[in-house]
């Protein structure tokens, strides 16, 4: 059903008075140079650090109302640096991230709760290599020089998302657990 044009200003005023949409329409602007998405995989029990070079995040956060916080993270999967040129060239291929077919990994938050102090937990859905699974990550928020710094970590199982199929489907060589650390600096 189409709304009569005359109704729109009324709706807009209604939004302003409830305050909710105003808070939600206030995404922070991300400082990409200081933000990072890092991961640590274990190969033959050797921790190897990697990172994604390109990503974007929309974050709405108000420490007074953390439960109203929202976050969407979009990672350009082909921007992966897996720790060495050889590994980076390998993990974009079909058995791993298959970046040609799945160029984006997307996390959409569904809830944020306070864990006390500056600690919080975000839960939501991660879509990676065409699979969507629920995920939760604790994080902290610190205020520094007018910016907010979000620091968090979580461990996911790569095989849940079919990352590292076929001959790589052996967690003794490359561990199933991948630790992910994120830092978003925004204001």
């Amino acid at each position: 059903m189409r709304l009569p044009v005359l109704c729109l200003p009324v709706l807009f005023i209604g939004m302003l008075t409830t305050g909710l949409p105003v808070a939600n329409a206030n995404p922070l602007s991300l400082d990409l140079t200081r933000s990072q998405v890092v991961f640590v995989s274990r190969q033959m029990n050797v921790p190897v650090e990697g990172r994604f070079q390109r990503f974007s995040a929309q974050i709405q956060f108000d420490a007074k109302r953390p439960e109203a916080a929202r976050a969407t993270l979009e990672i350009d999967t082909a921007s992966i640096d897996a720790g060495s040129p050889e590994a980076s060239a390998e993990v974009i291929r079909k058995p791993w991230l298959h970046t040609a077919q799945f160029p984006k990994a997307i996390f959409v938050s569904s809830a944020v709760k306070s864990l006390g102090g500056e600690r919080y937990e975000v839960s939501g859905q991660l879509t990676l290599k065409g699979k969507t699974l629920p995920l939760a990550a604790p994080f902290t928020v610190k205020s520094q020089g007018g910016s907010l710094i979000f620091d968090g970590a979580l461990t996911l199982k790569r095989l849940d998302f079919g990352v590292g199929d076929g001959p790589w489907n052996d967690p003794d060589t490359v561990a199933n657990e991948v630790q992910i650390r994120f830092r978003f600096v925004a204001k």
Binding site: P47, V48, G83, S84
Partner: protein
């Protein structure tokens, strides 16, 4: 003590363990670098590093043993250049059994890969990840191995010469299963 006639069992055991590990690791090293990336390749790299660290530890033990247990004397009647060649090649072998694993460990660190001995004992990285330094250390590791192959070849040739041409006990006294007099 190593007697005038022969080496102690400890010296003989360390000698052959190190020899075996060096031959295995030279083969492993050339094989793994030729392979396309695969779980097998990652495993071989780890085995190569574990074995390399083992050579280093065994070499330290061997050198400590040698310092406290002098080697038996060289046979009489060797020409001065032969004596010189023996001591230089032995000194080089001791140096290389330490330097080759060290260069491998350093280059692995510079590549950003820590060495975890037998997948259990993490060895701290002396160097931070640095691609240029890693390329340099790869070359150092390769060249030291080239030198190792040359010196080992000379070492084996000299041992065979002592045994089959000079017919002296130089090789036999390092063999584990040969009955030694004295």
């Amino acid at each position: 003590m190593n007697s005038a006639a022969g080496y102690t069992r400890v010296a003989i055991t360390l000698h052959w363990l190190i020899a075996l590990a060096i031959f295995a690791n030279l083969a492993l090293g050339s094989l793994m670098t030729e392979m396309a990336i695969s779980p097998q390749k990652l495993r071989l790299y780890s085995y190569h590093k574990w074995l390399g660290v083992s050579v280093f530890v065994l070499a330290l033990a061997r050198i400590a043993w040698r310092l406290t247990h002098p080697s038996p004397a060289l046979p009489l009647g060797l020409r001065p250049w032969e004596r010189m060649a023996a001591s230089v090649s032995h000194a080089l072998l001791y140096a290389l059994t330490l330097a080759v694993p060290l260069s491998g460990w350093l280059f692995s660190s510079a590549k950003g890969f820590q060495t975890v001995w037998f997948g259990v004992l993490p060895i701290p990285d002396l160097l931070a990840k640095d691609a240029l330094l890693a390329d340099f250390l790869v070359a150092v590791h390769g060249n030291l191995n080239g030198l190792m192959v040359l010196v080992v070849t000379a070492h084996v040739a000299a041992a065979l010469k002592h045994h089959f041409l000079a017919r002296d006990p130089v090789l036999a006294r390092m063999l584990p299963l040969v009955r030694r007099g004295g």
